[in-house]
């Protein structure tokens, strides 16, 4: 137990040392944290991913975009090993998924509308469950409690630590779920629609928390429906359509009326043959 703690603290020191140099390197030179190659997966009999390539390198912030049903949620769930791949391969931190055990390096925010369950739970209890990635079957120590508090401070919810999650608004519950992922002090943050159903004020708080994580060198992969307040943070956008990657590069800029929330969806100038890439950003 003690030895494990020491080893883990050494690990974090190492990553802190390597991160400043990582910042000066070209992104394409850094080691890949996620490398998904030719990934195929199906839900039931319906193929959802049809040969998806996705590489995320250390320190990058990558947004996965696409319309409903394009496979973006399945893609991130495959990355965390929750959807079995019927083809292709997945490496996390350079280790094949089958042999990957260092789950505390990953903070996962699943797509949820609520943090509540059938029995009341306090904010502290929900966020503490994220710390289990480090404590596993053992007992939490003082360091674990401090980490839980730090994670809640990052999302601005430390003053609600004793409250029941049922008493929180949807946006606040989403902040608690992100704190749960941050409690393990991960190097890679994977989030599935963290902004869904979150009002603008809470979105700004989340964007601030994410900015701090990115500045500290955390790698981020997130599924988004629209870029919103996170847009300035995002280095690269990967757009999925019908289970295939149709765009991998700088995030598409929303222009003109499209920059407004609630815009309509008409493309009068597009020729019939040049159908615009549906990013799902606009729908």
């Amino acid at each position: 137990m003690k030895a494990q703690e020491i080893q883990e603290s050494q690990e974090t020191e190492e990553t802190q040392e390597t991160q400043p140099s990582a910042g000066t390197q070209e992104p394409s030179d850094r080691e890949p944290v996620i490398s998904l190659t030719g990934a195929a997966a199906s839900l039931g009999s319906r193929p959802v991913l049809r040969g998806v390539d996705l590489t995320v390198r250390r320190g990058e912030v990558v947004a996965l975009l696409g319309a409903n049903g394009s496979g973006k949620s399945t893609a991130v769930r495959a990355v965390v090993g929750q959807v079995p791949l019927s083809g292709g391969s997945l490496e996390l931190f350079g280790t094949d998924l089958k042999r990957f055990r260092q789950w505390s390096r990953i903070g996962y925010v699943p797509q949820r509308t609520t943090a509540a369950s059938g029995v009341p739970a306090t904010v502290r209890e929900v966020v503490s469950s994220g710390r289990l990635a480090r404590t596993k079957m053992g007992l939490p120590g003082r360091g674990d409690k401090a980490a839980v508090r730090r994670a809640l401070e990052l999302v601005g919810m430390a003053d609600r630590i004793k409250d029941s999650v049922n008493a929180l608004s949807g946006g606040q519950q989403q902040r608690v779920l992100i704190a749960r992922a941050l409690a393990a002090e991960p190097e890679l943050l994977i989030m599935d629609e963290p902004m869904a159903g979150v009002d603008l004020a809470n979105q700004e708080v989340l964007a601030g928390a994410l900015r701090e994580q990115v500045a500290a060198g955390v790698t981020v992969l997130l599924v988004l429906h629209e870029l919103g307040p996170l847009e300035p943070l995002i280095d690269r956008a990967v757009v999925l359509r019908d289970g295939c990657v149709t765009h991998d590069g700088p995030p598409p800029k929303a222009v003109g009326q499209h920059a407004l929330p609630g815009h309509d969806h008409i493309h009068p100038h597009a020729a019939d043959s040049a159908e615009p890439i549906r990013t799902g950003l606009l729908s």
């Binding site: 739970a121 503490s128 994220g130 990635a133 079957m137």
Partner: protein
């Protein structure tokens, strides 16, 4: 009142009642958390086959029921984890197959076993044997060790299973452990509460506790307190009234739920009011709702 402690059968019944009061709400909290409160009922039905097999083979019905209930619970967990849409049909077959099996086997077994079989369905304080007490103590120790010792891990699994898997916890093992613990609890509870009412002791104290609690551990602790209270009171009551102990205990639990539900409504209102007042005082400096000044209409949007 205290003269009931002079009887050996009553001492045994009260020991068993205490353990039922502790264990059933303890595992029940996790089942309610994952909205699976009905699982206890299903295991109870399956355990009927085990009890009947015990009579037929002339072995201890408690241990036989434990074995069959564990097999049934593991089967239910397998169906649940597959997450098929036809899962509820599979569960129905397991539940009622187990019940029908119990009734069939008990009628095949020799002697007057049907009457004693009834005591397993609704509980009876006069039939707890010294061997039953030993078995109940051993099984209850297992249930308490799991539900208290692994509460953080089980909480995480029942709160958000997918998240728990990504933290690297052995989720499949923990799920099986919950199923086995629930099965063991059913056999702990069946002498006192009865197989058909055991699910009530898993769910009602938890439902009552969460009327007034805000956290998981406090809910767990209060549910166990309520469980022990109603279990002991109900058992003692059936010393005076000739009725199945399970019925008395469950009715008491329902009464506690109603009282707490009535108490909780004004409590929650007061909490909400003070929270809202604190928030408003912070944000607006007044308790009144004020409409923000209307925004000017702008027409600077170009397509």
């Amino acid at each position: 009142m205290l003269e009931i402690l002079n009887y050996d059968f009553m001492q045994r019944a009260l020991i068993a009642a205490t353990l039922v009061g502790i264990t059933a709400p303890a595992i029940g909290t996790y089942l309610v958390q994952r909205r699976q409160a009905i699982m206890g009922d299903g295991i109870g039905h399956v355990a009927m086959t085990g009890v009947a097999l015990g009579f037929l083979m002339n072995t201890s019905p408690v241990w036989m029921a434990t074995v069959v209930a564990i097999l049934g619970a593991v089967g239910m967990e397998v169906v649940r984890s597959r997450g098929r849409t036809s899962g509820d049909v599979a569960l129905a077959m397991l539940f009622y197959g187990g019940m029908a099996g119990g009734v069939m086997i008990i009628n095949l077994s020799p002697g007057n076993s049907t009457a004693s079989f009834n005591t397993y369905l609704f509980g009876s304080i006069t039939t707890v044997s010294p061997e039953d007490v030993t078995a109940i103590c051993v099984l209850a120790a297992f249930v308490v060790a799991i539900t208290i010792g692994l509460r953080r891990q089980l909480f995480a699994v029942c709160q958000d299973e997918e998240f728990a898997r990504v933290t690297g916890l052995p989720v499949r093992l923990l799920n099986l452990l919950i199923a086995v613990t629930a099965a063991v609890t059913v056999t702990v509870a069946m002498r006192i509460v009865g197989l058909l009412l055991v699910s009530a002791m898993m769910a009602i104290p938890v439902a009552a506790a969460q009327r007034v609690t805000r956290g998981f551990v406090t809910t767990l602790a209060l549910a166990m307190t309520i469980g022990v209270t109603v279990s002991l009171t109900g058992t003692a009551a059936t010393y005076y009234v000739d009725a199945p102990s399970g019925a008395a205990i469950v009715l008491l639990a329902v009464a506690v739920f109603l009282v707490l539900a009535l108490l909780a409504a004004p409590l929650a209102r007061r909490r909400a009011r003070s929270a809202a007042a604190a928030q408003n005082a912070e944000a607006l400096g007044s308790l009144e709702c004020t409409l923000p000044p209307a925004r000017e209409a702008a027409d600077n949007v170009k397509v």
